[in-house]
């Protein structure tokens, strides 16, 4: 994995006519992990989307070297397709070295249409898609939502392995997320 960096400088985010946060800077290099915490509506998801480059910041700059992979509540899996074929679409684009479906306990669900999967199963499928993407920067927006205890531990293990392999992991969650050397950023401190 190439050396990756994620630097944000003096970010501000505006939604509608409300300034959610301002003056936020962060710097992450290979192997580091950050948890973005804060109450509902404080701007965690917006920060993740700004870091992904999907949303323009109201002020400030984001520097990213390395591709970003995003898992949020939109899983980008065709609901009417069987899970195996929905994941195969991303495998044809990402050309992963290994298929992560069995690692996430999805091997028995590959024939099931995505729309019949539970929230947690879809989240596991999205994590499989993320692993297949091979992106060095992981941006996880509420990754534990809907996951049962075992799957939640597995998600933490995967994130820990990703960081140990030289990746960056940013987790936006109000729940505790167990990662070694996890830095913590409380968005409430940057509220405008």
């Amino acid at each position: 994995m190439q050396a990756c960096r994620l630097i944000a400088h003096d970010l501000a985010c505006r939604r509608g006519d409300r300034l959610l946060f301002r003056g936020l800077s962060l710097s992450l290099s290979a192997g580091e992990a950050l948890q973005v915490a804060g109450a509902n509506g404080v701007g965690k998801s917006s920060l993740i989307r700004i870091l992904a480059g999907l949303l323009g910041p109201y002020a400030g700059t984001v520097e990213r070297s390395g591709m970003a992979g995003l898992v949020d509540d939109r899983h980008a899996l065709d609901p009417q397709l069987p899970l195996g074929r929905a994941l195969a679409f991303w495998q044809r684009i990402d050309r992963p070295a290994e298929h992560a479906a069995s690692r996430l306990g999805l091997q028995d669900l590959l024939d099931v249409p995505v729309r019949y999967l539970s929230t947690g199963q879809k989240k596991r499928a999205a994590l499989a898609r993320l692993i297949g993407q091979g992106a060095p920067i992981w941006l996880l927006d509420e990754p534990l939502n809907g996951l049962d205890t075992d799957a939640a531990r597995l998600a933490e293990t995967l994130a820990a392995e990703h960081c140990a392999g030289g990746g960056i992991c940013v987790v936006a969650s109000h729940q505790p997320f167990a990662l070694p050397a996890l830095k913590r950023l409380d968005l409430a401190g940057f509220a405008a």
């Binding site: 999907l54 591709m67 970003a68 899983h75 065709d78 009417q80 679409f89 044809r92 990402d94 992106a135």
Partner: protein, 218 residues
């Protein structure tokens, strides 16, 4: 990049042409029903039908192209596909261009095929049918580009589908004027003008729709 675009095209075709997102044949059935209803409404006078039939085919084609607008762009924004493509540096311009091609395949060639029975129902002669087919070949790519652009502009708006239909109709007027105009005696150059309008729409669509999708993100 090219491999990814081929993969996108295969998914778009499976979705729009083969009807994974349901209703791929509806526009064609709608088109044929209009062609069938028209003689009932204005009476079976062959001269009148032959004179107006080409125009009816064009109006029916335009209306049929409006039907699939709601499933062109919005579902993929809602499902997060455009976000994931953007993260993989597949720009919206490219994904939209692929979508225009798939959308055209889903209704252009089928409409041209369905024009054969429609022409028979309306009593068009061989010459008029040839002009209609050439005109549709020149005009439907422009309709496809317009459809995807308007679908991207209205994605996520309340009542977006109805609004999309209303927006497409005035913007498609040049295509209709030149396309149906080519059926008038001495109007053959209308086909070239229809093609020209189509090319302009095709050139603008990826950038306009791409910008619309980016700005809808939030």
């Amino acid at each position: 990049m090219n491999g990814a675009l081929v993969t996108l095209l295969r998914r778009d075709i499976a979705m729009l042409v083969l009807g994974r997102r349901s209703g791929a044949v509806l526009p064609i059935l709608f088109f044929l029903s209009v062609a069938m209803l028209f003689p009932f409404a204005i009476g079976p006078d062959p001269a009148l039908l032959a004179r107006t039939g080409g125009g009816v085919i064009w109006v029916a084609a335009l209306l049929a192209a409006i039907l699939p607008l709601d499933r062109l762009v919005e579902p993929d924004i809602e499902l997060g596909f455009f976000d994931q493509w953007a993260l993989r540096e597949l720009s919206e311009e490219w994904t939209v261009a692929v979508r225009v091609l798939a959308h055209w395949l889903s209704f252009g060639p089928p409409l041209m095929l369905a024009s054969l029975p429609a022409a028979a129902l309306l009593g068009l002669d061989g010459q008029a049918l040839r002009t209609v087919e050439l005109g549709l070949l020149a005009g439907t790519p422009g309709l496809a580009a317009l459809g995807v652009t308007v679908a991207a502009l209205t994605a996520g708006l309340r009542g977006g589908t109805a609004l999309a239909g209303l927006l497409v109709i005035p913007l498609a007027v040049p295509l209709l004027v030149f396309g149906a105009g080519s059926l008038a005696p001495g109007g053959e150059s209308g086909i070239a003008l229809t093609g020209a309008v189509s090319l302009v729409l095709l050139a603008v669509a990826p950038f306009a729709a791409g910008a619309a999708i980016r700005s809808a993100r939030g």
